[in-house]
């Protein structure tokens, strides 16, 4: 197969030179004509060189259609077009244009040589990895020792963790009781959404719920911003999702490096809108997604049921909603469900585990001092949720968004490390989630006046010096550096992502370009904007590192000293729970307060069995749900994962 490469430009032939080099490397003899030739000369050269194929290139886009129309006419008149295969390429060329003019194929910018090779050989398989890339689910988190390296820090953490386990040993709560009832019922129905939704409701469960949840089950009354989704909507939605799946071609954002994976948080209020945003995020390269529930859900005892949509931020956690979202995910997408901060923490961990979520999110400290939940209650519930995460083999991440209220990083990190060590003791896999933000403490102390790099480096390097746990900055990276302007927002996200690549963190959570826009919901297009910007930043830097100044080392040491100082203060408190009430991990001066939801709800009592049948009293029979869930294929439910 001899190929003639003909540049139809006055001076440019760079593209065809590149193609020539690559085609010759593949074993094809090529003849490259010089630039500034006439159309007639192409045909004459083809005859003289006895080529089998002509590739005509045109960089300039103006008048390209008329020019190629003439190419075809002249080659036809010369008797070449019917004997030799002809393809075209250039900045304004598309395959559609080429075929409409009668050429074999057309190639625009960013064409890969594999695609041209496949065309030459008439074998699409040669370019399949380009045209139909396969993305496998990453094994996440990446391997780490999961140990605390600094002995001072480790000893302090062990003492605190001992105290937490002693303190919680004989305590339970309504949240723990509900979680065990729910787990028993899910076991009974083998995880079937339909069967679970139709189960008779129990007096035991409702006895542990707030009135709004009881009203939902007994009187079909939804909260003001919530409505039930109709069966017709569910069916139409699943049809849309299946179309998206059929047309999906995976995309990898990173360029040369394995890390960081990129996560997108969703929680528009509606599982169907979430699902569509998830498909958009997956299609533009996200590796994983995180479910966010509404704030009222965290402060209400008990979970509702069925397909529910909320007109405000946060998508209600129900078994059916989570099932619908799970049904929407690509097989390679990692899925995290936030459990961590409210009165339903243990039960959400159970639902997530039963549905095969890859991860969950639990932080007793953040939920207690910043999330509105009583510290004693969340300590009991958090320990139970971590046990569930262990049982279902779900790593859990530990967010430190209390920094957004004004808590200094060393206090937030001390709380995060307590949770990590607690998680290890209970057999779970913790993931550190520092916040890379321009938060109040940083603003007041002018730690980012010169740049956004040094202090963020100091934070991550401090954690890496103390321990070897997976690190996943979120949620999202660059918090409080975004403005409402799309270009600025995408840029700051992309630059933070590039910095994270240098830092070697395992994953990041990206913002959308609507991050700072608070007068309406986030849009799907806003997610695309940030993902594209990150992809470009990864491409730009490749394996090149971002370098901080020496200030980063100084601040790293300050943070490490502050973490150990804080942990020491926690050990001096009567208990970890007292430390939370006293504000050792964040106080009123830092802008945080012990939460009140669930206050006085902890009971000292024998715990229910860790796993197994809860004694159900089917005295209250739920009304038949408004909708059925036939559209959710039972086969999509995973086998229960249990250690």
């Amino acid at each position: 197969m001899k190929i003639l490469l003909a540049p139809l430009d006055p001076v440019h032939d760079a593209g065809l030179k590149l193609i020539k080099r690559k085609l010759e490397a593949l074993g094809y003899p090529c003849v490259l004509l010089p630039p500034d030739i006439t159309v007639e000369e192409i045909g004459e050269a083809a005859i003289a060189e006895k080529v089998d194929m002509i590739f005509v290139g045109r960089t300039v886009g103006y008048g390209v259609e008329q020019l190629f129309r003439r190419v075809r006419h002249v080659l036809t008149v010369q008797g070449v077009f019917d004997k030799v295969r002809v393809a075209i390429g250039g900045m304004a060329v598309t395959d559609e244009l080429a075929k409409s003019l009668g050429f074999e194929a057309g190639y625009g910018p960013h064409t890969k040589i594999e695609e041209i090779h496949a065309m030459i050989e008439k074998n699409p398989e040669l370019a399949r990895h380009i045209t139909h890339p396969v993305k496998n689910k990453p094994k996440f988190p990446f391997p780490h020792d999961n140990t605390v390296k600094n002995s001072t820090t480790k000893n302090l953490l062990d003492e605190i963790v001992d105290g937490i386990l002693d303190w919680t040993a004989d305590k339970s709560s309504p949240g723990v009781v509900r979680a065990h009832i729910t787990e028993s019922q899910l076991q009974d129905v083998k995880g079937s959404v339909e069967s679970y939704t139709a189960l008779p409701f129990t007096r035991d469960y409702l006895a542990q719920c707030d009135e709004s949840v009881v009203d939902f089950f007994q009187k079909n009354i939804c909260p003001p911003s919530v409505r039930q989704i109709t069966q017709k909507e569910v069916d139409a939605y699943i049809n849309r999702i299946d179309i998206a799946k059929r047309n999906f071609h995976p995309r990898v954002l990173r360029h040369g490096r394995e890390k960081p994976l990129v996560f997108v948080q969703y929680g528009t209020g509606c599982p169907m809108m979430d699902g569509m945003h998830i498909k958009v995020a997956e299609s533009w390269g996200a590796d994983g997604v995180l479910h966010f529930d509404p704030a009222w859900g965290a402060r209400t005892e008990g979970l509702m049921d069925g397909f529910l949509t909320n007109a405000e931020d946060g998508t209600p956690v129900t078994y059916a909603n989570l099932s619908l979202i799970r049904r929407s995910l690509d097989a390679a997408t990692l899925w995290t469900v936030r459990a961590h901060r409210g009165l339903n923490t243990p039960e959400i961990a159970v639902l997530s585990g039963f549905l095969g979520a890859d991860m969950t999110k639990i932080n007793i400290v953040y939920g207690s001092i910043c999330g509105g939940t009583d510290p004693a209650r969340l300590t009991v519930d958090g320990v139970d949720a971590i046990r569930t995460a262990t049982r279902y083999n779900m790593p859990f991440d530990i967010p430190t968004n209390e920094e957004l209220a004004g808590v200094p990083p060393h206090k937030a990190f001390a709380g995060m490390l307590i949770m990590a060590q607690l998680g290890r003791r209970l057999g779970a896999q913790p993931i550190l989630k520092p916040l890379l933000c321009h938060g109040p403490y940083i603003m007041v102390n002018e730690l980012m006046e010169q740049n956004y790099v040094d202090y963020n480096f100091a934070k991550i390097r401090a954690l890496q010096a103390l321990a070897d746990f997976p690190i996943w900055p979120g949620e999202p990276i660059g918090f409080m550096t975004h403005t409402e302007e799309k270009e600025q927002s995408a840029t700051t996200t992309a630059l933070h992502a590039a910095m994270c690549s240098t830092l070697g963190v395992d994953a990041i959570t990206t913002a959308s370009t609507d991050e700072a826009f608070s007068r309406g919901p986030i849009t799907a297009d806003g997610r695309v904007g940030s993902l594209r910007a990150m992809e470009e930043a990864f491409r730009f830097f490749g394996e090149t590192d971002v370098a901080p100044t020496k200030k980063a080392d100084e601040w790293r040491d300050d943070i490490i000293a502050g973490i150990n100082r804080t942990l020491e203060a926690v050990t001096e408190a009567p208990s970890f729970v007292d430390a939370l009430y006293q504000g050792i991990l964040g106080d009123k001066a830092d802008g945080v307060y012990p939460g009140r939801a669930g206050k006085n709800s902890v009971v000292t009592a024998p715990k229910p069995k860790a796993v197994g049948r809860w004694d159900v009293t089917p005295a209250i029979v739920r009304k038949k749900p408004v909708l059925t869930v036939k559209a959710v294929t039972p086969g999509v439910l995973p086998a229960r994962r249990r250690r």
């Binding site: 911003s225 409505r227 909507e233 139409a236 939605y237 849309r240 528009t268 209020g269 509606c270 169907m272 809108m273 569509m276 945003h277 958009v280 949509t309 909320n310 007109a311 405000e312 403005t483 409402e484 302007e485 799309k486 609507d514 826009f517 007068r519 309406g520 919901p521 849009t523 799907a524 297009d525």
Partner: protein, 73 residues
């Protein structure tokens, strides 16, 4: 019948540069523009006025979470 507008997942954003003499005038002009396009319910996402005029992005939500989505009809 499904229209092109029905296929918009959530919002239609329009961004451009308009010639004006103040931020206030820019907002008035954007309002008139959106009315003329048949999009009376809109929100200005960002607006940056300087020199000859304003760089802006304005948004009309077609489907908000919890709505009966046009793309599911």
């Amino acid at each position: 019948m499904t229209t092109a507008r029905d296929t918009i997942v959530d919002a239609l954003d329009i961004e451009s540069f308009i010639l004006c003499e103040s931020e206030k005038e820019a907002k008035e002009l954007i309002g008139k523009l959106m009315q003329s396009l048949g999009l009376p319910r809109f929100v200005i996402v960002s607006l940056d006025f300087n020199g000859p005029g304003a760089h802006f992005r304005v948004r009309a939500y077609m489907n908000k979470p919890g709505d009966n989505y046009t793309w599911l009809q």
